[in-house]
Subunit: 194 residues, 2 copies
Amino acid sequence: MVRWEPGAPERLQKAALELFATRGFEQTTAAEIAEAVGLTERTFFRHFSDKREALFHGQQVLVDSFLDGVTAAPPSAAPLEVVATALRSASAFFPAERRAHSRLRQSVIDRNPALQERERHKLTTLATTVAAALRARGVDELAATLAAESGVTVFGISFIRWLREDEDRSLADITDEVFAALLKLAGEVPPARR
Amino acid sequence: MVRWEPGAPERLQKAALELFATRGFEQTTAAEIAEAVGLTERTFFRHFSDKREALFHGQQVLVDSFLDGVTAAPPSAAPLEVVATALRSASAFFPAERRAHSRLRQSVIDRNPALQERERHKLTTLATTVAAALRARGVDELAATLAAESGVTVFGISFIRWLREDEDRSLADITDEVFAALLKLAGEVPPARR
């Protein structure tokens, strides 16, 4: 799209995060973010519709990593097994090297309601996309929606745990634990309630 | 709080919904909503911080109905059984007479991203509150969060199904079906994955 400016979105994203973390989200303008990496405000708005979006640049890669996992699951896999495969695929998108960046990003989001709303919206979109991919595999609408929403719930809870200062396990390990806890909870409900 | 104006929030809420549905959310002002029921803009803002809030007046009653269900569950109930009790309690908050109102409200929300964000935020707050109530019963943090989030997912999916034009079952019946579908999905995952 903007072939003459390679890496501009990544540089703008990095500068945005640093400025949001040090000065605050409200106190930072798109022009200042652009200026910090030697670009113009106009270039900023060629890549992002507003300053909030600069923090959500990687979203499509995350969605794609979930979808890759859905595709990789064997045809015989039950819906929640497909979701488990998708969760493992998405975990690979957050290696240990990325934890410091993700922690800083989360601390900015935690301080700003508009960013929290955008983050929730991101997870809603992710669930909708995963549900569509499950339906494309022949899973009925209710099962697809429930499995996708449950997967995004597991991902959201795991991701927040991964960011904790006292946590050093990989996101994949944490996700496995949270997924297993969900199955355990379901298994505790007596058959009469099913 | 405003004892000399009984029923004002309900009247403002009803007028807001009607105006949002006919004129559109963006095209309606708080002053117009107030005027429609013979009140002043100042009175409107005594009850609601902005016009968006007029659509979310019943939120605390919904949260309380979930919490009543958590309290009503026997001490021995597993976390997801407690959530099932809470879902049944919340369903009673939406009798058949309320379906037309809820459908109109949802059609307004579906057309406006700011209202969708507020609705998502409402469900996030509900999950946080239910999780805290589960922790107060001695459920560990992970199980409490997962069970509460799963309950809110079941509620959200059931509620949207209840609003469908081709649906005439009660919200309680739909919720039971969706909850059972979640347990079935979990039961389909082979033991090796747990």
